[in-house]
Subunit: 342 residues, 2 copies
DNA sequence: TTGTAAGCGTTATCAA
DNA sequence: TTGATAACGCTTACAA
């Protein structure tokens, strides 16, 4: 029952096994370069002492970490959780460890997290979106850390990215809405600050509105934080307008589901009284009644591919690549023609 | 455009600023112990060089990391995501960094992740549930790493835990179901292997069944993996039985929502044709129609409190504590009396 | 096949 | 207030 007060080190193992630290190190890293009998003795000592290598020391001596970091806005958003899960599974298969941090959608926290992960020796970083202080790119370059952006496609950006064209996808979706005959539309968007996906999606709506020759000023934009309840509250506000919209285009599925919930509570029938659309195509979109018209985003595919691209970058196999994934509109029951406006 | 080939070190900063490494270190760690003029000069050099401290070296020299690790079964499950988000926010406020890893519900991967996080210097670890190889507790003790279990309350366990009594909560819920008059019930559970929450919840159902004097053999248990679709498939199977259940008790809300979805697709009305219950009380439970009867779990509260307890343990302020949170049944529309069986 | 010893980038002790 | 310098735990030439 005497608790060892000191954490066992390589040296302790070496002494216990009666060999040098170099030999212990070899047993752990290239076992074939050590004769069987010694290895057995060493491994036994390792187990008896409960030895675990000190990562920091190892990283410092070997100058490699096999670690990738990812910084997402929040773990609470299912789409990031899903993409990151796939990302991590792919990395793990190749022997990399993933460190995940979240920024709460704040640029300053993201920057802090980038520094934290870099100082922890991350060989590469996965970031979300392109909206951040350009200074940070210099920092990453100085530190020799590779970075890749996901969830947003952008050919001209500083960093390579894998994702889809948020703007084009939202434009296509909005065109579908307009084709149904809607002329009074409103947008419920996530907060745009530091969130280029949200910005791009609104621009996509505006593209379609402008192309249809409508007055873009007449399109109400309601900005709110992420959540079902905030979506519901936004819907309330929009319906209280003098001329409420006949279609509510939401920046993501969660907001849209909140809107649908409130519509039901207000006694409004979707889509005959009001149409509602989302973005992401999370499972929830097919659970609600009627099912939600939305944009399908291949989150897991994105995570998997991001892992491959980033590993290639880190290993110097490529300088990185920008890849565009398809995000297509899924027309479902929540979108219909507007009611007769009499 | 000449990319610096070497990552700047403390030494580089010291040279650039014309001081010793000790002074640079002081500027970074205890700025007040350095005179203003020198500090300004040093900080300028830090910025110009894009210096970032090497975490491994720092940890090795200072023998502290201010890092907490958490290993959750999967990021895709909203309840973990939510609890961990709260956990991380609380840690961050006290200057700790959180490293998150996921085990895909596999004990072997969890063990691997524990070793990874420990070797990365985590001062403390948050683990889910009590189901793991006891050997690992020895390892943690040897390494001097504090660990706390969440999502599962258990007074007698090896580790301190914060959570709720899964078994008692499920028993209470089941009693509500039986009170409605149901006598043919079925359980849709997550995979029990290595998942004590799932095991406990089933035991809770059986407790209530036994207490009601019913034949526990007659209670079908269907085990499946996590997901809406798997919940739907499980429901299919149960309804195809010779004597289908009148109430389906699901191990979590996601499975329950899948069951509700399939019920609707089969033309069954909930609850008049079949009652369905969940566990967790995620937002989704209040979105579906009818709303889901479930057990409310205070995920965020658990995350926040877990952070405080674990930080106290790591800082030696306490030897840890086991705390039980309330998880109470929320009766909603998805549970009603059974249809006339005639 | 194994051992010796020189780093790796910090912090901390002790002097100056 | 600052500077030398010895750890910290590990890897890796280079020798034996």
């Amino acid at each position: 029952m005497s608790a060892p007060l000191a954490i066992p080190t390589l040296n302790d193992v070496a002494k216990a096994a009666g060999v040098s630290t170099a030999t212990v190190s070899r047993c752990l890293n290239s076992p074939d370069r050590v004769i069987d009998s010694t290895r057995d003795r060493v491994m036994q000592a390792v187990h008896e002492l409960g030895y675990s290598p000190n990562f920091g020391a190892r990283a410092m001596a070997s100058r490699r970490t096999n670690t990738i970091g990812a910084i997402i806005p929040t773990m609470e958003n299912a789409i990031f959780a899903r993409g990151i899960q796939a990302f991590q599974e792919e990395l793990r298969q190749s022997g990399y460890t993933l460190l995940v941090a979240s920024s709460s959608y704040r640029e300053d926290i993201e920057e802090e997290q980038i520094r934290t992960l870099v100082s922890r020796g991350a060989d590469g970083l996965l970031l979300i979106g392109h909206s951040r202080d350009p200074e940070i790119y210099k920092f990453l370059a100085t530190q020799g850390v590779q970075a890749l952006v996901a969830w947003s496609h952008n050919e001209g950006a500083k960093l390579h990215s894998i994702g889809f064209d948020n703007r084009a996808a939202m434009r296509t979706l909005t065109e579908s809405v307009l084709e149904k005959g809607h002329r009074r539309i409103a947008v419920v968007s996530a907060k745009r600050t530091g969130n280029d996906r949200a910005q791009q999606r609104i621009l996509g709506v505006m593209d379609a509105v402008a192309a249809a020759g409508m007055d873009s000023e007449a399109t109400t934009i309601f900005e709110t934080s992420y959540g079902i309840e905030t979506g519901a509250l936004a819907f309330d506000q929009l319906m209280a307008l003098a001329t409420p919209p006949t279609a509510v285009i939401c920046g993501n599925d969660v907001l849209a589901v909140g809107a649908m919930k409130r519509a039901r509570e207000l006694g409004l029938i979707v889509p005959s009284d009001v149409s509602i659309t989302g973005f992401d195509d999370i499972e929830l979109a097919r659970i609600v009644v009627p099912a939600l018209t939305t944009v399908h985003v291949p989150h897991r595919e994105m995570g998997t591919k991001a892992a491959r691209i980033l590993m290639d970058m880190v290993e110097g196999k490529s300088g990185g690549q920008t890849e565009k994934l398809d995000a297509d509109v899924r027309l479902r029951g929540s979108l219909g023609p507007p009611a007769d406006l009499s």
